[in-house]
């Protein structure tokens, strides 16, 4: 396959849409990094080097003093060393809360505390935690875009991962650009900490916004090379967006993505839920060269979702020839979904021919029954 050589050069077969993260590392038209950026990075490296030297000669007492500096937000306990924001001396949004915001902040803080327990749970603790989780959700659901700065400030300081998830969902539901930016910042932090579970929840929160801004973000990150390792999560979020249909070009570009098989699976799913008949040929072309059985099954699922009768010959061929039992079952399901006389005929042929696997045979019989063919 050509995919492998493409992966080394960074140019996928059909990834003309793919972009780098525009804010951090813009590239010129040839794809080269700008010389200006080289200079900036050089200076950054020099600065880092000097800071290293400085840290080695910094008096020990001074170090201790800087470490002991209290966090900017007094009520929220500082995160551990692994958390973001705890030692950041820059101004926090929580420093300038209005009176009304301060009240909300206090309520959130109290509910955060009520969601915690520090000894073996007992019945009263269980009831307290359950109530607090409900109340917290209701409170956060009542907030709007004007509270994003406050929520962002809390998110940066909150040490508890479950409490942070409440905040992530709240920001996602609000969905303003500021809220989405806050989620992106959190994504970068979670990514840098290797917190894959938190990355997952953050991207899921991005999809909660379900607006144009979130669509643009999910689209960009689905194609971003810097975020390749989480690309499948962004594509998955994109497939769940109400504008998924507008992302068909993204799915097409990623259908033969070499970075990870799960990206190709998610792109296929995008076609399954949003594809048009005109996309069937794209999926079929990818299916021709794909060897991973799990991805082939996703492609067959996509063809079943698109429901183009012109795909039936290829699906029928896979049903009769593929070595993998589950892939043949996928082909049966695709024919069932495509429906119509030709699909029924293909299934009848398969039934009459018989498959070496009882599971596949049973699947064919079940499909025919669902299509009204019992005998």
């Amino acid at each position: 396959m050509n995919r492998s050589s493409d992966s080394r050069t960074g140019k996928a077969n059909s990834n003309s849409l793919r972009t780098s993260r525009p804010v951090l590392f813009p590239q010129n038209q040839s794809g080269e990094t700008n010389l200006q950026w080289i200079a900036i990075l050089t200076l950054l490296a020099l600065g880092w080097f000097l800071s290293l030297l400085w840290s080695q000669i910094e008096p020990e007492a001074q170090k201790k003093e800087s470490v002991a500096k209290p966090p900017q937000v007094s009520k929220s306990s500082a995160r551990t060393g692994a958390a973001k924001g705890s030692s950041d001396s820059s101004a926090s949004p929580l420093d300038s809360l209005s009176e009304a915001e301060q009240l909300i902040f206090d309520d959130i803080f109290e509910l955060f505390l009520s969601c915690q327990w520090n000894s073996a749970m007992d019945a009263s603790t269980a009831h307290r935690v359950a109530r607090a989780r409900t109340d917290l959700q209701n409170l956060l659901d009542s907030l709007g875009p004007e509270h994003v700065a406050m929520l962002t400030g809390i998110l940066e300081e909150e040490p508890d991962f479950i409490n942070r998830r409440f905040l992530l969902k709240a920001l996602g539901k609000i969905g303003s650009k500021e809220a989405l930016n806050s989620l992106l910042e959190h994504y970068y932090w979670a990514n840098s900490e290797g917190k894959e579970s938190e990355v997952k929840h953050t991207i899921e929160s991005l999809s909660l916004a379900n607006n144009d801004a979130s669509f643009d973000i999910l689209r960009d990150f689905s194609l971003s090379e810097e975020d390749e390792i989480h690309r499948y999560r962004f594509v998955e979020a994109l497939t769940q967006h109400s504008r998924s249909e507008d992302a068909r070009d993204v799915y097409g570009a990623l259908l033969e993505d070499p970075s990870h098989f799960r990206v190709r699976q998610r792109a296929a799913y995008g076609f399954k839920v949003s594809g048009k008949k005109v996309d069937a040929q794209t999926v079929e072309s990818a299916l021709l060269v794909e060897k991973n059985p799990y991805v082939r099954q996703s492609y067959l699922g996509a063809l079943g979702g698109i429901r183009d009768v012109n795909s039936i010959p290829m699906v029928q061929k896979i049903l009769s020839e593929d070595n993998d039992i589950s892939t043949r079952i996928s082909a049966v399901r695709a024919l069932l979904r495509i429906d119509g006389a030709n699909a029924i005929q293909a299934l009848l042929v398969a039934r009459n021919t018989g498959d070496s696997s009882d599971r596949v045979n049973q699947e064919i019989v079940t499909a025919l029954q669902q299509l009204g063919i019992d005998d």
Binding site: M1, S7, R8, G10, S20, F25, T33, I38, L41, T42, L44, A45, W48, F49, W117, N118, S119, A120, M121, D122, T125, A126, H127, V129, F161, I162, R165, N191, S192, E193, G194, K195, E196, S197, K200, E225, E226, E228, I229, P258, S259, H260, R262, A268, Y269, K272, N292, P293, Q297, S298, L300, G301, A302, S326, T327, I329, S330, R333, S357, R359
Partner: protein, 635 residues
């Protein structure tokens, strides 16, 4: 194959920069600041089989799609592992998703895994949809591999607070990788919805569902209020333990109450049932496992005090419970339950491991003992042709005392031997328990030793599995089974009070380290344990021994009472974790139950007490290869 894997330790945005000068700068200074995406740690490319073929090692695998703990892990016929449910939020919520670990086995030694094999976690069904359990998320549920290769998902509950026990079971279809399609609908379902029960595949292909907890609403009277006043009667959720047993028949996909041949309800004999117990099959009179006279052994766990005084939530460490110190067994032939008289051991709950070393009897003991090198069968030197009851050697390890103040690991790991005489009640079935007392002897042979004497060492919420490895006997290389455990937690109460959780361990290898139970090793008389194949002789083939050994990468200091020194590199997890699962998966031959099998640790949380898993571990998959796993046979 040159496809770049996202799991490889590559930083794509740097690799594409062509400026040599900039590259030097990055290497020298910037890289440590920004790092690669992902964790930045060294993550072997799973699409390279060589990463899985290095003996005596723990290899970091791919990340789960949904990092989790408290899930089930079931090794399927094709060597993949089905992961279902669990939680990623301290059990306050549960996950309704499943994923399949496919390590991309059956690849030639040292060859990269081709595109046609994934080597990762698969989370989609045959139609490309994310695999979900239609009945919702589950914790405290069971997953049982059925004879047809499908998996029964039974019971559980949606959260550790007040959700009711799940009343609908589901069957995972291995062909379509989906749950409960119409053709696999279960009806009737469980008579008593339950969670934290046991589910054991019987020799007849049916599944025994035993004990657990149910969810009930109880009305109680508050004497502080007069009758008729608000508050006089209140309704509370309680989760009492269960005595009842049910049988699932895969042929009819239905549950029926378990009934003995005498027509009686088959149920636990403990006053209020049994919860969170461990289960293992024992061979019956024929000393063979998997035959109709097997018995199912239930050990440990706890019972709740009554319905009204049952716990009103589901996390461990409850006041309203009573730990079981007795053992019971279910006779598959008669459907009777009996208390294993005379067997009392340290009570233990929270994933106490119960392992029948007889599971590998065929591969463990069927080597030629009739022709030792000296030509003489001498039991005193270990040449024993056969020992009755060898299928019934149970190791009971791990777990804790479930104390609400501070759960403390059970330090004495027990060895139980069941023997049949064929006479008297229960065919003369008797049990002998060796509770970790060094020097204890029995009338079969020699002694049992438990050198796990390095302070509290038992692990809470850590599995123990049986895995094959290579050993020698009389100069011949043979395949034997050992028990393997890793990870978990134990607690200590410091002098000042409170409860300090220790995840890293203090006994050199610690909790992160791999510990094996070698049934053939007698630490008091054998030479220093050396796992290098063909150099560590079996001197006592009956296996009525057992030593728990921490596996280091250096062997010379593996003194059983010292576990080496702290600086030794050891075979250990890259991250401490609890509530993870251990599963045996095929090695390079792609076949299960062969010598190159390896163990995969999946999922896990970073803390045990009191947050029961807490945050999901950042390293959610690790593959453990014991010494000698892949060593080629001598020509």
């Amino acid at each position: 194959m040159e496809r770049m894997s996202p799991l490889s330790n590559q930083c794509s945005k740097y690799s594409r920069i062509k400026s040599t000068a900039l590259l030097l700068i990055l290497i020298g200074g910037l890289l440590p600041i920004i790092g690669c995406h992902g964790s930045g740690d060294s993550i072997p490319n799973i699409n390279n089989a060589a990463a899985f073929l290095e003996d005596n090692n723990v290899v970091r695998g791919p990340g789960m799609v949904t990092p989790r703990y408290g899930h089930t892990a079931t090794t399927l016929e094709d060597g993949t592992v089905l992961i279902t449910g669990g939680s990623d939020e301290r059990h306050l919520t549960s996950l309704d998703t499943a994923e399949v670990f496919d390590q991309g086995a059956a690849v030639e030694f040292g060859e990269p895994i081709p595109d046609s094999i994934s080597g990762d976690f698969i989370d989609t069904d045959v139609e490309g949809d994310v695999i979900t359990m239609p009945q919702g998320g589950r914790i405290f549920h069971t997953a049982t591999l059925l004879p047809d290769g499908n998996v029964l998902i039974c019971g559980g509950t949606a959260d550790a607070l007040f959700a009711e026990a799940a009343d609908v079971s589901e069957i995972y279809n291995i062909g379509s990788r989906e749950f409960g399609p119409d053709s696999l609908f279960v009806d009737p379902d469980l008579g008593t919805p339950r969670f934290r029960h046991s589910a054991t595949l019987l020799p007849n292909g049916k599944v025994l569902i035993a004990g657990g907890q149910e969810s009930r609403n109880e009305t109680i009277i508050d004497p502080n209020f007069a009758p008729g006043q608000p508050g006089f009667q209140i309704t509370i959720n309680v989760f009492p333990s269960l005595k009842s047993m049910e049988i699932f028949d895969p042929a009819s996909r239905s549950f029926v109450p378990a009934i003995s041949v005498a027509g009686q309800d088959a149920e636990f004999l403990s006053a209020r049932g049994r919860v969170g117990h461990s289960t293992a099959a024992l061979g019956g009179l024929d000393n063979e496992l998997g035959t109709t006279d097997d018995i199912i052994f239930h050990a440990g766990g706890f019972q709740t005090l009554s319905t009204i005084f049952a716990p009103q939530f589901k996390l461990p460490w409850q006041n309203d419970t009573d730990n079981a110190q007795n053992f019971e067994y279910y006779d598959v032939t008669t459907g009777d339950n009996r208390l294993a008289a005379g067997i009392v051991s340290g009570s233990r709950v929270n994933t106490a491991a119960l392992l029948n070393l007889g599971q590998v009897r065929n591969t463990t003991l069927e080597f030629d003992l009739t022709d030792p090198p000296d030509g003489i069968i001498d039991p005193l030197t270990g040449d024993i042709p056969s020992v009755p009851g060898m299928t019934n050697l149970l190791v009971i390890a791990n777990g804790d005392d479930d104390s609400p103040a501070c759960p403390t690991g059970v330090t004495a790991n027990d060895l139980v031997v069941a023997t049949f005489t064929g006479f008297g009640p229960s065919d003369g079935l008797t049990f002998t328990v060796f509770a970790g007392t060094a020097g204890l002897t029995n009338n079969i042979e020699n002694l049992v030793a438990d050198p796990m004497n390095c302070a509290p060492f038992a692990r809470s919420e850590a599995d123990m599995v049986m895995v094959n490895t290579r050993r020698t006997y009389n100069g011949q290389s043979i395949v034997t089974g050992v028990g393997l455990t890793v990870g978990g937690a134990y607690e200590l109460v410091p002098p000042a009070g409170g409860c300090v959780e220790i995840m890293a361990g203090v006994c050199s290898n610690g909790i992160q380290g791999v510990t094996i139970f070698d049934p053939f090793y007698n630490f008091q008389t054998d030479p220093t344990w050396n796992p290098v194949p063909n150099s560590n002789p079996i001197t006592h083939p009956t296996g009525i021994f057992g030593t728990l050994i921490n596996v280091d990468t250096t062997y010379a200091d593996d003194l059983p009472d010292n576990f080496g020194v702290a600086l030794d590199p050891s075979i250990q997890l890259n991250q401490a974790k609890v509530l993870h699962t251990l599963s045996v998966v095929p090695g390079e031959d792609g076949l299960l139950n062969t010598v190159d099998d390896r163990v995969v640790s999946i999922g896990g949380g970073v803390s045990y007490f009191p947050n029961y898993g807490d945050e999901p571990a950042t390293i959610s998959c690790e593959i453990i290869l014991l010494p000698g796993t892949n060593t080629p046979e001598a020509p």
